[in-house]
């Protein structure tokens, strides 16, 4: 290996690492607020990328049907509950978010031609279809079990992952897709050629991290999420709705996931089940940070990206084996350093 290859691999590693870092942030966020280990994170990556690809191919993305279906299911559950408890003033809100919004989205997809939109509008529309699935999923799968143990929530998360992968296959088929790069620019830095998409990925990740930082530090909703993460009961006593916090954290996770998918779709071919492995690598980063620390999680994720890039050079067949075996020493280290209060059953 010479310096040039090393730099090339490094560039690859940092690009992927930036994506893993974003995902690891979302995982830490969801876990601290809801105690859900969010295995389906990767499916949002795939859904984001493939929805955008569908627009560009002039097809109707299947995620639209999922949005409509999930919206109807949430509306049914919530309206039944509202009627039963006699809180009628909730109904317009429920109908608006879960029925009217998907209807509006379908109108845009069917009446206008998204395939002729500029890229930016296509991206916004793809996000608009995929991101609301996050809170709807929380409502349907996790909210009824909000007080269950971490292990039960984990099994539910795995079940949700399974269902979403199956739906992904149904919606997008087994073929992979790529989307055009945001920019074709490339910069020659002497030894190495940095291409524009890499800069986009790294830049957008950094920007998103900063925005999240501001959100958590400066806004009342961000503070509410942090409060819920620290102490659910305490937050509830202060008037913070844990349901709201759960939905908001899922919304952010879905946004980060779908956006990551859109960022990397020009670099790697995305299949319906690609998201899972991408998400799990974000996980390794998140676990390095003990599912609690944002900066350590991000650093861990970058490390995973680099490790993956270099092991694909030396032992490409064993790339995944190496990355996932790495989790085990990290896990052991984590559980030795965090003093665990037993009996959380």
């Amino acid at each position: 290996m010479d310096l040039q290859i090393a730099l090339l691999l490094g560039q690859d590693g940092i690009t992927n690492g930036a994506i893993y870092a974003l995902l690891s942030l979302a995982l830490v966020l969801v876990f601290t607020v809801t105690r859900v280990i969010f295995i389906p994170q990767g499916e949002f990556v795939a859904f984001g990328a493939l929805t955008l690809a569908s627009f560009q191919a002039g097809k109707t993305p299947g995620t639209l049907w999922l949005l409509i279906g999930a919206g109807v299911a949430v509306a049914l559950v919530d309206i039944t509950l509202a009627l039963r408890s006699g809180v009628f003033r909730r109904i317009p809100g429920i109908v608006g978010w879960n029925l009217a919004y998907p209807a509006l989205a379908s109108a845009i997809v069917f009446l206008l031609k998204p395939s002729e939109f500029p890229l930016l509008a296509q991206i916004v529309l793809a996000l608009a279809l995929v991101v609301p699935l996050g809170p709807m999923l929380y409502r349907l799968a996790f909210q009824p079990l909000a007080e269950a143990s971490v292990l039960v929530l984990l099994i539910v998360a795995v079940a949700v992952h399974l269902a979403l992968v199956g739906l992904g296959l149904l919606f997008f088929g087994a073929e992979g897709s790529r989307t055009p790069a945001f920019s074709d620019a490339s910069f020659d830095l002497g030894l190495v050629n940095v291409n524009g998409q890499t800069l986009w990925v790294v830049g957008a990740s950094l920007l998103l991290i900063v925005v999240l930082g501001v959100f958590f530090e400066r806004t009342i909703y961000g503070k509410a999420l942090r409060a819920t993460a620290m102490n659910r009961t305490g937050a509830r006593l202060m008037g913070i709705s844990t349901v709201m916090a759960g939905k908001l954290s899922f919304l952010l996770a879905a946004l980060i996931g779908a956006f990551s998918g859109i960022l990397i779709a020009p670099i790697t071919t995305i299949y319906y089940d690609t998201g899972f492995l991408i998400g799990l690598k974000g996980f390794v980063g998140a676990i390095v940070g003990g599912l609690a620390s944002y900066p350590i999680a991000a650093a861990g994720a970058i490390l995973v990206g680099l490790l993956e890039a270099f092991s694909s050079f030396w032992a490409s067949a064993f790339k995944e084996v190496i990355v996932f075996t790495l989790i085990i020493p990290v896990l052991v280290w984590r559980s030795l350093t965090t003093r665990h209060v037993e009996e959380d059953e």
């Binding site: 009824p144 099994i155 795995v158 079940a159 949700v160 269902a163 149904l170 085990i328 020493p329």
Partner: protein
């Protein structure tokens, strides 16, 4: 009688099934059997032991690939040529390989606490899957074919109808072994893993060892299933050993009822049949091909966990009258007792113990002694640090500074298990028992260190003599504390006061010379308190040393020989009950001073 009839009916159906159903259904039953063996391991590991694993499919793969490699390889390295060819050698080798791999993985991942463990299983589940697919000598992603058929007593089992009997014999043996194990001393230790680790350790159970044991058993069940699979299919590739299949195994256990042995069979049956049916219908319905049954399984799983977290088996058994539990008093040979210490011998000596939690000093320079044949009471207002002191003495927690001696031996550095072995036994302020086990079984955990038979004899029920002695001893202690009428009730159904009494019986079952009781009288009614005081007096008369934390002043003053009073982590008074009661510092601590 009815459940026995049902079992007989089930066995009869199993026996005649291959003669009456079609080839296709025999194959389906074969697969149900194979999956049930893996799910059974998960019942033990996850449902009973509380250790969630998504990685069992990898162990199935280990069993399958080991036998596939050994029975097909043409050019084995010289030293293992003798191993090649026979499926039976493949079985043995699979067991050895799986034991080694599972042992290493277990040592690494079972140390993981809480949710880190299942994440660890996902990680090695994926790693092993990619390893199967990328190793040249295992045929890569295309797999290996030409695996010989199993032959038994000269018969080649080439047909699925004949293989059926082998599979289901293994299933039934596995069920028998699992049930035996759960109904034993080691089984009680395993059942304590879920939500009772601190208690079990304090009773002398090596919970880390129990965890490794269930992990190995579950892995070996999976490996044997893989061995059967390889010789049934006579072809292996990595696909059936991936993470998604590992998830499916867990689903089988959860859907069937992960805490019930028969739940594994129900779960394997339901999921396998449903999968077959969905794989037929969904692609037609959706007009595309693919594994769409995942969608249904995922949604079903969410529904099960939201609505019926205990799975199908408990729902099914609601329609069958339960066999009346055995209610006769267990009989067995007397267990040997430790030599009792001399009357008046110093049993426990704590010297200048400090315990700090960050900046908070919970115990500040605490010293106390307990002698054989006396009741020493530790009293003080709420938050004075009594329970912390208790935890430091019994090894549940370790003191930051200072020394604890038990019968002249320094025990400060020992854990609660080792201290229990020396003859100290305790109860907990917040009752720690296993609510779904009977009072008898709960108390028998206390006698854990008085038995010695391990997991293997337990699985084969070769330890019935020792087991009878343990249960008889537990029953004696239950009668002694006056819980005879509730001996066969579930511990969770007792009133709080009775649960405290149960804890005392459990502590006594360990044959201790020093008894640590953390608020034993809280929640007891007057007459129960009288009876408890009477029991403690009797124990004291037999030479037992008793250290008591209590709030009830009447109870303490009528019983204790000496009293130590704590406030804000410090000892403020020590002496005879009457002296302490008049001590101005004590009066101030309890009633507040006059400013």
């Amino acid at each position: 009688m009815r459940p026995r009839l049902l079992l007989a009916g089930f066995l009869g159906l199993l026996l005649i099934a291959p003669r009456v159903v079609s080839e296709f259904h025999v194959t389906l039953l074969n697969y149900i059997g194979l999956y049930a063996i893996v799910a059974l391991g998960l019942v033990l590991l996850t449902g009973v032991g509380g250790l969630t694993s998504f990685g069992q499919a990898a162990f199935v793969g280990l069993g399958a690939y080991t036998t596939a490699y050994l029975s097909t390889a043409q050019n084995l390295p010289g030293w293992c040529v003798a191993l090649g060819g026979s499926p039976w050698i493949g079985l043995l080798a699979g067991i050895v390989v799986t034991t080694l791999v599972a042992f290493v993985l277990g040592l690494l991942t079972l140390r993981l606490s809480g949710h880190y463990l299942p994440l660890g299983t996902i990680a090695w589940g994926i790693s092993l899957y990619f390893l199967f697919g990328n190793l040249e000598f295992l045929g890569g992603h295309t797999g290996m074919s030409g695996i010989p058929a199993l032959s038994l007593l000269g018969f080649e089992l080439r047909e699925s109808r004949s293989f059926y009997y082998v599979i289901w014999a293994v299933v039934l043996v596995a069920v028998w072994l699992t049930q035996n194990l759960l109904d034993s001393r080691e089984g009680r230790a395993i059942r304590a893993l879920k939500g009772g680790v601190v208690m079990a350790e304090a009773m002398g159970v090596d919970t880390a060892r129990s965890k490794v044991a269930v992990f190995l058993i579950a892995a070996l069940f999976a490996s044997v299933s893989g061995w059967l699979y390889a010789h049934l299919q006579r072809f292996v590739n990595p696909t059936p050993f991936g993470l998604h299949i590992g998830i499916e195994y867990l689903f089988m256990a959860v859907v069937g009822g992960s805490a019930h042995v028969w739940g594994a069979l129900v779960g394997a049956g339901v999921i396998t049949i449903l999968k077959q049916w969905l794989q037929d219908w969904l692609p037609r319905l959706l007009g595309a091909s693919g594994n769409f049954e995942m969608i249904v399984f995922g949604v079903m799983m969410i529904f099960v966990l939201q609505r019926a977290r205990d799975g199908l088996w408990p729902i099914l058994t609601r329609f069958v009258p339960r066999r009346a539990a055995k209610r006769e008093l267990p009989h067995g040979a007397l267990l040997p007792k430790k030599a009792a210490p001399e009357f008046g011998e110093v049993l426990l000596e704590a010297k200048n113990v400090f315990k700090r939690f960050g900046g908070l000093v919970a115990n500040n320079n605490m010293s106390l002694t307990v002698r054989a044949g006396e009741v020493m009471a530790l009293i003080g207002p709420n938050g004075a640090g009594k329970s912390t002191m208790f935890n430091c003495v019994s090894g549940v927690d370790s003191a930051t500074e200072g020394e604890v001696l038990f019968r002249g031996e320094v025990v400060s550095a020992l854990n609660s298990r080792e201290i229990a072995r020396l003859g100290m036994s305790r109860t907990f302020q917040h009752v720690r028992l296993l609510p779904t086990m009977t009072v008898l079984e709960n108390v028998a955990i206390g006698g854990h260190l008085r038995g010695s038979k391990g997991v293997l004899p337990a699985m084969l029920h070769l330890e019935r003599g020792e087991e009878a002695s343990l249960l008889a001893e537990a029953a004696r202690q239950i009668v002694r504390v006056g819980l005879r009428d509730s001996m066969f009730e579930l511990a969770g159904s007792l009133a709080l006061g009775q649960q405290r009494t149960l804890e005392i019986a459990r502590a006594l079952c360990a044959d201790p010379c020093l008894l640590l009781l953390d608020e034993p009288a809280a929640g007891l009614r007057y007459l129960e308190k009288e009876a408890l005081a009477e029991l403690l007096r009797k124990l004291r008369g037999e030479g037992m040393g008793i250290l008591l934390v209590e709030h009830d002043m009447d109870f303490v003053m009528g019983l204790a020989d000496r009293v130590v009073v704590m406030e804000f982590g410090e000892k403020i008074a020590e002496g005879l009950p009457e002296e302490v009661q008049c001590d101005p510092a004590v009066v101030e601590a309890y009633l507040g001073g006059v400013d």
